[in-house]
């Protein structure tokens, strides 16, 4: 860990200016991933700009019903928030499926989205990794591949994004609010994380010095209320996803009025299964239809011996998640399927 300067501005604009002006400065939030990286030698910043105590720690409902979540709301507080629990259960479920109680008390909303892959080679500075050291090669290709991406990977990188929360936010069409030197901009979740392409070193579309200040969830609806998150993992708790599914389903009788599906553990970013959603929307709900829709989304998947299991696993997990939502829908309406 290199010697570094620590500063704690009291104003978000100062923080942004401080990092924007210095290519060797980084924001420090909850620290659960960044401090880890400092110790592993992955990052060697000269300056840490602590934004974790900026007053961006409130959950507020805007006049139009949008739920604004300050970037410094801790994961545990967000999960326990009464509005989130009742109106956006996929968010609470995703948060509670991640990390541990202690880490959720520490990790922030923005930091959660900005956490980096847990690919074992990325975290091991003694092995080549294009994400860590562009041009050095990808050790995961031809190496340990159990957690590797099956969708949207490139020859440069097969890493997966580790966040649970981001998958739920992707499914619910959240918007990330970002403050830069030139003011605020709003980035839909679908444009926030990148696929690796030739530049796996870049995880998101943020510029250096841009600070996530809040995340906004659209006004609650029948769809957001009927949302859920299912995570498949080796250990029963305190483990990253093999695959995960955030889903929301609104049925009109048997007919899928609207549906949202996003996958975790399959790609370099939360994977919104748009083709699967399209295939289901307006169709009669059935388990077979969901499986077929998932297969459609997975048609472009590329797998190796270590991660081929993710295809049936994510397909089944999707069917399982939607079945749970469909069952609850019919409980509510008294309909039988």
């Amino acid at each position: 860990m290199k010697e570094l300067t620590y500063v704690r501005p009291t104003d978000a604009r100062d923080a942004v200016a401080r990092v924007s002006d210095d290519p060797h400065a980084r924001f420090l939030g909850g620290g659960t991933n960044l401090v880890d990286h400092l110790k592993l030698g992955l990052l060697t910043p000269d300056v840490l700009v602590d934004v974790s105590r900026l007053p961006l720690d409130e959950v507020t409902r805007l006049d139009d019903g949008t739920l604004r979540i300050g970037t410094n709301v801790r994961n545990s507080d967000l999960a326990a928030h009464p509005v989130v629990r009742s109106s956006y259960p996929a968010v609470t479920r995703a948060l509670l499926a991640g990390a541990s109680g202690q880490i959720r008390n520490q990790a922030t909303t923005g930091g959660n989205l900005l956490q980096r892959t847990r690919c074992v080679y990325f975290q091991d500075v003694t092995t080549p990794c294009n994400k860590r050291e562009p041009g050095s090669g990808c050790s995961a290709i031809g190496g340990y591949g159990r957690y590797d991406a099956v969708l949207g990977a490139s020859e440069a990188c097969v890493a997966t994004h580790p966040s649970d929360l981001a998958v739920a936010l992707a499914a619910l069409d959240a918007v990330v609010v970002v403050l830069g030197r030139d003011g605020e901009r709003r980035v839909p979740m679908s444009d926030f994380h990148r696929l690796p392409g030739h530049h796996p070193e870049t995880d998101t579309t943020l510029a250096h010095g841009e600070l996530v200040t809040s995340v906004e969830l659209p006004p609650e609806s029948a769809l957001t209320r009927a949302s859920d998150y299912r995570k498949v993992r080796d250990r029963a708790s305190y483990a990253f996803a093999l695959v995960s599914v955030a889903a929301a389903l609104e049925l009109d009788g048997d007919v899928v009025r609207d549906v949202r599906i996003a996958w975790g553990g399959v790609a370099h970013r939360p994977w919104r299964a748009a083709a699967a959603e399209e295939a289901l929307r307006g169709e009669t709900y059935s388990e077979e239809a969901v499986r077929a829709a998932a297969e459609l989304e997975l048609a472009a998947a590329v797998t190796g011996p270590d991660n081929a299991y993710k295809i049936p696993m994510v397909r089944n997990a999707t069917a399982y998640a939607l079945r749970g939502l469909a069952d609850r829908s019919s409980e509510r309406t008294g309909a039988t399927r």
Partner: protein, 707 residues
């Protein structure tokens, strides 16, 4: 009168469930582990950080420490050219920084000493090591057939091969045959306390707090390397945060700490192995592959049994896991062949991990038994009962008190085995397949000679009992006081026990499930000698020291413990996730000295077995040569949420052939057979037979219905 041999003692304190005597220090965190000592002038240490090799084989050409030495706070950087010379380099694992050879990726190639841990870590990052890399062989797959050889013996001194009868003829003539290849991956002990040492050299004595299972063994092993007399090393280990075998033998970091301390005379040095470095430098259970062939009568009685085990070892130091030894004594059968072959690889040095041999070997054998039961249409419990030998098949000796059948039957009753459907895929509960499985467990009763205990009469009817034993969490500190109390016929409260220090009488390792039995025998013998010397009302200050060289009652018997493990698992029909919902172990281990601490040992073994069944796998990258799942986020061990529905039971018995206390060991048997019981239950649940650990979710996706 001289007490030549400890005599059995009536139990008063022994057998009573009592609270862990060092629990208060532990629940407050005030117990001090190897990196937490400030006494003995260990305040203000230099912090040592290891630089480890990034090639698997070759030579160090040059260590450039200039950038590191330029950092404020960095005091010294030791490498193979400037480190103190070892007096002996016979043990290449322990010949730290003695030459330019690299034998595995992760080997120590430099050591940074700095005023703060931050400076030490950064200094290590800045040390630049230049190598001449050579082609390396790091996996069993890459090893050629010619690379496998028969070691002279396997771990714990067992014979490499053993052949009885004519296995091929027996198999050829058998009515039923099953055959399979079973494997267990490399596993890391991963105690919660990382290996660590704090050492100080004052010019004549090296004092070292160490995280070890054997203080005297550390002194005895390190002294000739450091060129010291054993009396010049004082090793202390008052508290040790688990070991499970990895702290049973000294490893390279302890040598590095000692060497560094001698290089900076007068200044203490603290070295804490990072969690990642533990995956290369502190031992591990090597990968095993077992080929098992069984021939049986139609009713399941075994006629011929072959267990051929292969595995990997390190080219710089041989360790051969005794994978096939349990097959020598477990079941009846006329024809038998057990063999071990290893390939020397350019990998880190494997070593002991809880129940070496029995854990992987009994996984293979007990899954094979389940397959035999299926092939014969015999209940798996009955099959094991039918194959009960009268005499030990390996030696022909009578058993001490073999009660496997009783364990199986008691377990079956308690578990509700009778209600179990015969065929797989018979139970569906919601989204889950449900299944149950059984496996036997066994562990040899080892007894280590040479333990010495000292009994001292103190004021007010108190007694000091001293022995250099180590409590790594087993409860030794609690149970040895109970043993001493009975041996002296006084209350436990009158005993002042001292352990964990080479200034105390010599003791053997806390390992092989032999610590309590071996140390306890020495305490009993010393106590009996004490009473013979000083009577029942000794003058304060008198003392007696006794050494237990043997416990001859055991001669001529096959001494083993036994057990039966029953598992219930649920496998998610959609996602393949496997959860163990019930686990029962019933054990025959002689006298249980303290039911509270023994129960925790059994539970701990069962949980480590569960963890190995479902999660643990040290993945070695075939290109680089090191374990890439080298932390606790990628090398999963069981968490709270994975551990449900555990039960432990044991038979009420005593075994005075084993020890004067009537006890055998309890530390290892809980892990044995557990993974097999879980794999067998998973087969019962789903019909999927898994022969390779761990049992991960991907193996149970889209399970087809049985015909």
């Amino acid at each position: 009168m001289t007490v030549q041999q400890a005599r059995p003692v009536p139990n008063r304190a022994v057998g009573i469930a009592s609270e862990r005597v060092d629990g208060r220090e532990k629940v407050t965190g005030l117990a001090t582990y190897a990196a937490e000592h400030r006494d003995l002038q260990l305040d203000d240490p230099l912090h040592a950080w290891m630089v480890t090799s990034t090639i698997a084989r070759g030579r160090v050409l040059r260590v450039d420490a200039s950038a590191a030495l330029a950092l404020p706070g960095v005091e010294r950087v030791l490498d193979h050219e400037n480190a103190p010379r070892a007096a002996s380099t016979d043990d290449r694992e322990l010949a730290v920084l003695q030459d330019d050879r690299v034998g595995f990726r992760g080997q120590i190639v430099a050591l940074v000493l700095a005023e703060t841990p931050e400076a030490a870590r950064e200094g290590a990052r800045l040390v630049s090591v230049h190598y001449d890399a050579e082609p390396a062989t790091v996996t069993l797959d890459a090893a050629g057939e010619d690379d496998f050889y028969a070691p002279e013996q396997v771990n714990a001194g067992h014979e490499t091969d053993l052949e009885q009868g004519d296995v091929e003829a027996g198999l050829a003539g058998a009515a039923v045959r099953v055959e399979g290849r079973y494997s267990t991956p490399a596993e890391h002990n991963s105690p919660m306390e990382p290996h660590a040492a704090t050492a100080r050299w004052d010019g004549s004595v090296l004092t070292m707090y160490d995280s070890t299972q054997a203080v005297h063994a550390v002194a005895a092993t390190l002294a000739p390397i450091l060129g010291l007399e054993q009396s010049q090393l004082r090793v202390l280990a008052p508290y040790v945060g688990g070991g499970f075998g990895s702290k049973g033998l000294p490893h390279a970091p302890e040598v590095a700490a000692a060497m560094a301390a001698m290089a900076v005379e007068g200044r203490p040095v603290k070295l804490v192995v990072t969690r990642q470095q533990m995956f290369a430098l502190t031992g591990y259970r090597p990968e095993t592959i077992s080929h098992v062939r069984i021939g049986a009568e139609p009713d399941g009685r075994i006629v011929a049994l072959e267990h051929a085990a292969i595995g990997g070892t390190s080219r710089i130091k041989e360790y051969a896991e005794q994978t096939a030894t349990a097959a020598r004594m477990m079941y009846a059968g006329e024809h038998r062949r057990t063999t071990h072959r290893v390939a020397a690889l350019d990998v880190a040095v494997p070593s002991w991990m809880r129940a070496p041999g029995e854990m992987p070997g009994m996984f293979a054998l007990e899954v094979a038994l389940d397959e035999l039961a299926e092939a014969c249409g015999v209940d798996p419990v009955d099959l094991r009962v039918r194959n009960e030998p009268e005499l030990d098949p390996e030696t022909g000796n009578p058993y001490n008190d073999r009660r496997l059948v009783e364990c199986l039957q008691r377990g079956a009753e308690r578990f509700g085995w009778a209600d179990r459907p015969t065929s797989p895929q018979a139970i569906v509960d919601g989204d889950w397949w449900v299944g149950t499985g059984v496996a036997s467990a066994t562990y040899p009763t080892l007894w280590m000679p040479g333990n010495t205990a000292r009994i001292t009469a103190d004021e007010d009817g108190r007694y000091g009992v001293a022995i250099g034993a180590v409590d790594i969490g087993t409860g030794a500190r609690t149970v040895l006081a109970q043993i001493a109390a009975d041996a002296l016929d006084v209350d436990v409260a009158s005993i002042d026990l001292a352990i964990g220090d080479t200034d105390l009488p010599a003791a053997t390792v806390a390992g092989g499930s032999a610590g309590t039995g071996s140390w306890g025998t020495a305490i009993v013998q010393a106590a009996q000698q004490f009473r013979a010397d000083h009577g029942d009302t000794p003058d304060p200050g008198v003392q007696t020291t006794g050494t237990a060289e043997s416990y001859p009652d055991s001669v001529g018997h096959a001494l083993h413990s036994f057990g039966a493990t029953f598992a219930e698992v649920r496998v998610h029909r959609w996602t393949g996730e496997l959860r163990v919902t019930r686990l029962l172990g019933v054990y025959s281990v002689g006298r249980v000295i303290n039911p509270t601490t023994a129960r925790s040992q059994f539970l701990g073994g069962l949980i480590m077995g569960l963890s190995g069944a479902l999660f643990e796998e040290s993945v070695r990258d075939s290109r680089f040569g090191h374990v890439v799942t080298q932390d606790l986020a990628t090398y999963h061990v069981a968490s709270h949420a994975d551990v449900r529905g555990l039960e432990v039971d044991w038979l009420d018995e005593e075994d005075h052939l084993a020890t004067p206390m009537g006890s055998r060991g309890v530390g290892e048997i809980g892990i044995v057979g557990t993974a097999a019981a879980i794999a067998n239950a998973a087969h019962h649940a789903t019909g999927v037979r898994v022969r390779d650990l761990p049992l991960t979710a991907d193996l149970f996706l889209d399970v087809p219905p049985l015909p």
